[in-house]
Amino acid sequence: MKRLTVPGLLALLFAVLLWSCATGALNIYWQSVIMFMGINIILSSSLNIINGNMGEFSCGHAGFMAVGAYVSSLLSVALFVKSSAFGEPLLGPAYAVWLFPLVLLAGGLAASVVGLIVAIPSFKTRGDYLAIITIAASYIVKSTIENIGAIGGARGFMGMGGVMNAMTDTVHLPWIMIWVFVGTVFSVWLIRRFIYSTFGRGVDAICQDEIAAEIMSVNTNRVKLVAFMVSCGLAGLAGGLFAHILGYVNPGSFTILKSTEVMVMVYLGGMGSLSGSIIAAVVMTLLMEALRPLQIIKWVVIPLLLVLLMQFRPEGIMGRRELADVFPRLRKFYTFKG
């Protein structure tokens, strides 16, 4: 049996997606569902570093997503299109296609820096206190955005649709789908490399016995900081992609409810399991779409789901294991490149 490589599989999936978008085999609705799946994968796998591998309780992921969403949106509108907030673009629409990934990265970096600021007070504390700090931080971010009238405040900010159009005009491809796919693969790839390195194993060591880790030469503050910054940076990346899918962003999308959605995915998938987070993200996205007609009751069902999960299967779908641990025979069919 010929061994397929994961990169090969991903390339195949990518080609299938592009073809379906181009030919209209996937309508706009399903395209957006798939894109939100990608966003959710990034969000849940990045939060899993903190809530799963490190065993902490961060409740403010939506705040970091908001930072990334706003920074990348403001940058892309200011650079590439004409807007009421910024006037003429600094660079012009032709540059959008080439520089868009940089804009996304900038959003991620900004979110990373905010993560750094939030992480520092949390060093002296543990456990439940990180929950408080992240909730407060998330609220501060949202409140700050609402108070800045120049970028729309509570009403929101728009113009990213124009950026996406500029990109499609230059080269006719479904750019947002492409970048969501690339962003998702990038995030999972990054997290995997981090978690399996000796440096990244330090995160698990801190979770299981922080004092032993410190005494066994792990610079716990540095490892916690790096883990937090990676997690928040990727949330920011997800935020940037999210904003450009919608073409519009407003602070009301980044409340504790959003953070809760992400937490449900992490705990549903299994704390510390990367494949678990991915599976749970896919399942949750589909579930949320299925429950959409129920509107408010959806928001009773989802927390209830998590409560039941905690009661009867707190380790989630995968526990702490990965797909390869559960189905070892799958290893025959695929290899990772590295």
Partner: protein, 255 residues
């Protein structure tokens, strides 16, 4: 120059004096014991030297430089490794991972190398793994490298903890009650292992121990403390007959 020079180290916890003017001087390659009744402050001494607490007074010099007040991971990276009274392995990670993580002070690569899997990263990770397997081999633990410590017998867990401390290539190895909870067969094995490590790596070993046969057969110098203060020190023969030591452990006749 002494390897470890502790001078008048004192530690107060609130109003309680846990360690009082403790001084010791350890040379390279020496095998020394710290003994005393329960609650005497022995583990506190270890915690002070390894950086978990900062002493209220006194000085700690290691290889001539002060390590007083340094964070534990810094102290460790300078060459002091320790084990704990209650085994503190990471039980949900393989034995090999347990040893690898102790190399955090000498990773030799940065975050970017990690993400990009540069040649430097690949080389260092291989070296870390080889080094870990080598240390495990020295203690006869190579077969359990991929086991989870929670599935291993207690005696083997103790050895893994010692292997983990050894992997740091310390100049000073501090063992906190290494024979605790071991049956007599395991104790024999432990004594042999410690002797082997001492000979092969020529490191200084400082141990806290209650089991006198371990202490007597291994150590050349013994320090006795009680209620935080040193009450006696000397060769094993001198300590065995010292009346203060006997009084501390067994009490005296006055009621």
């Amino acid at each position: 120059m002494a390897l470890l020079e502790v001078t008048d180290m004192t530690q107060y916890f609130g109003g309680l004096c846990a360690v009082s003017e403790f001084s010791v001087s350890l040379e390279q390659g020496q095998l020394v014991a710290l003994i005393g009744p329960n609650g005497a402050g022995k583990t506190t001494v270890f915690n002070l030297v390894s950086g978990f607490y900062k002493p209220t007074r006194g000085e700690i010099l290691f290889k001539g430089a002060s390590i007083k007040g340094k964070k534990p991971h810094e102290v460790t990276s300078r060459g002091i490794a320790r084990t704990f009274q209650n085994i503190r392995l990471w039980f949900d990670m393989t034995v090999l991972d347990n040893i690898r993580i102790a190399q955090h002070h000498a990773l030799g690569y940065g975050l970017l190398d990690c993400f990009l899997r540069t040649p430097r990263y690949m080389r260092r990770e291989r070296e870390i793994e080889d080094h870990a397997m080598q240390v495990l081999g020295t203690l006869g633990l190579a077969e359990v490298a991929h086991e989870l410590p929670k599935n291993l017998p207690y005696g083997v867990q103790r050895l893994v903890e010692i292997a983990r401390a050894l992997s740091i290539n310390p100049a000073l190895l501090m063992l906190d009650e290494p024979a605790a909870g071991l049956n007599s067969a395991d104790v024999e094995g432990l004594i042999a292992s410690i002797r082997a490590i001492h000979k092969e790596f020529n490191l200084a070993i400082w141990m806290i121990e209650h089991q006198m046969d371990v202490v007597m057969s291994l150590c050349s110098w013994i320090k006795v403390i009680d209620f935080g203060a040193t009450i006696a020190e000397g060769t094993p023969e001198a300590i065995q007959n010292n009346p203060e030591v006997i009084k501390a452990y067994l009490g005296d006749d006055t009621i």
